[in-house]
Amino acid sequence: MTASFHRLAILVSCMGAVFPARADEISVAVAANFTAPMQKIAADFEKASGHKVQLIFGSTGKFYAQIKAGAPFLLLLAADDETPARLLREGEGVPGSSFTYAIGKLVLWSPKPGYVDDAGAVLRSGRFERLSMANPRLAPYGLAASETLKALGLSDALQARIVMGESITQAFQFVASGNAELGFVAYSQVHKDGQRIEGSYWLVPSRHYTPIRQDAVILKKGQGVPAVEALAAYLRSRSAVTVIRSYGYEI
């Protein structure tokens, strides 16, 4: 009896050596624009650590409301740096746990090849009916787009042609469906599996807009959970950073 118990104990400790920590299943809230890279990163992380990661994709504004209402997320990968900061101020995050995991880049994109030139002069041409962008009030990429138009002195001239998506995903959809000829989208959206998709685009110079910092923060419910700390560390590892960059983000 004691012997078999010992054998069990040895077996368990051996398993502990293979899986460094207890294999936890953790819920992670991820900004919709980071869907593709995060799926890849999470799969790599699961393979490397043995933890299970459940990803929930959505808008940062909704995540905020859900976290305030007690949602069971342990880690948040936001689309901005403001929401994690606000959660920290309001005591919903673990102090000192936030970090920038990606910096987004803005592009002016059209699915038509040769439509958007590499200086953005098409914006002054006036030959389009609709320019799509994310709502500046709701999405950091929308704010960056409106800052860019302001920097170019085109805000007033183009006002009547702007259509706004509630998220950068929707801004992309308006252009992809042809309902808007061109639009400000995330550089990461014109990448698929690390490859650039069809069409033409202008990578907006970063001097035109405030950097789109996407911060992550460990939430109160994730405090002291080894799998959460492991994933937060993994996001900063060389292999994760390679994936993040291949999807058009800076870091």
Partner: protein, 229 residues
């Protein structure tokens, strides 16, 4: 408490809902009449198509409309060939989408009302040599009045409460497609809960009053009802 933008959204919503209700009564009446009277084998198919928006998630409907009305879609190409402006992100586009979205809420009460009248009063009128038009105006319409009231109120209210479709094809253009439900969503997403509460409260009170009207003065016995008293 409400900003100028909120008021603009309220005005736009009322304008949209009244336009849509008017159009729906015109479009819905012949459909409901046909559904109530026909023995055609197509009756089931048409009835099911009209009722689809009740079952389909509005986002699905909105997504289809975005594709259909877009420059590559059949409706979009037809509109372009007619030399008209593209529909998504415009008020006329929203009107068209809302007519589709609210159609069953107008057709079904009307159909129920017409069916409740039955054939007898019309046959009697016919023996008195009333023409089909006379029968419709002087027999069907007065008898189906409660059905029309229910249909109009439901069509109006359902359009006011529309969200998923607007989200998909609206594009958030102020004074054109930014209706109340959209504006509330914007407030919530922007974490401006105070403004969201203000406007949501207005919508709640409004919806309650509309339903109160439906259940008390409307003459409707049930939600879908509207048979003659």
């Amino acid at each position: 408490m409400l900003s100028a933008e909120d008021w603009a959204a309220i005005r736009l919503t009322l304008e949209l809902a009244s336009t849509v209700t008017g159009l729906l009564l015109v479009v819905g009446t012949p459909i409901a009449l046909w559904l109530a009277r026909t023995r055609s084998p197509l009756r089931g198919v048409v009835g099911a198509v009209v009722a689809l928006p009740i079952v389909l998630p509005p986002t699905v409907l909105g997504f289809y409309l975005l594709v259909l009305l877009g420059p590559q879609g059949p409706v979009g190409q037809f509109v372009e060939a007619m030399g008209l402006a593209r529909l998504p992100f415009t008020f006329p586009g929203l009107v068209l989408a809302s007519v589709v979205y609210s159609l069953p809420f107008v057709v079904q009460p009307l159909q129920n009302a017409f069916m409740a009248i039955g054939e007898r009063p019309l046959e009697v009128a016919a023996t008195l040599r009333a023409s089909p038009w006379d029968r419709f105006v002087h027999v069907t319409l007065p008898l189906a009045r409660p059905g029309f009231v229910t249909a109009a109120i439901l069509g109006f209210a359902h359009t006011v409460g529309e969200f998923g479709v607007v989200l998909m094809i609206g594009g958030n253009v102020p004074g054109e497609t930014r209706v109340v439900s959209m504006q509330i969503y914007n407030h919530v997403e922007a974490m401006d809960y105070a403004s969201a509460h203000g406007l949501a409260g207005v919508l709640l009170v409004f919806s309650f009053l509309v339903l109160l009207m439906l259940y008390s003065v409307g003459g409707a016995r049930s939600f879908w009802g509207g048979g003659p008293r």
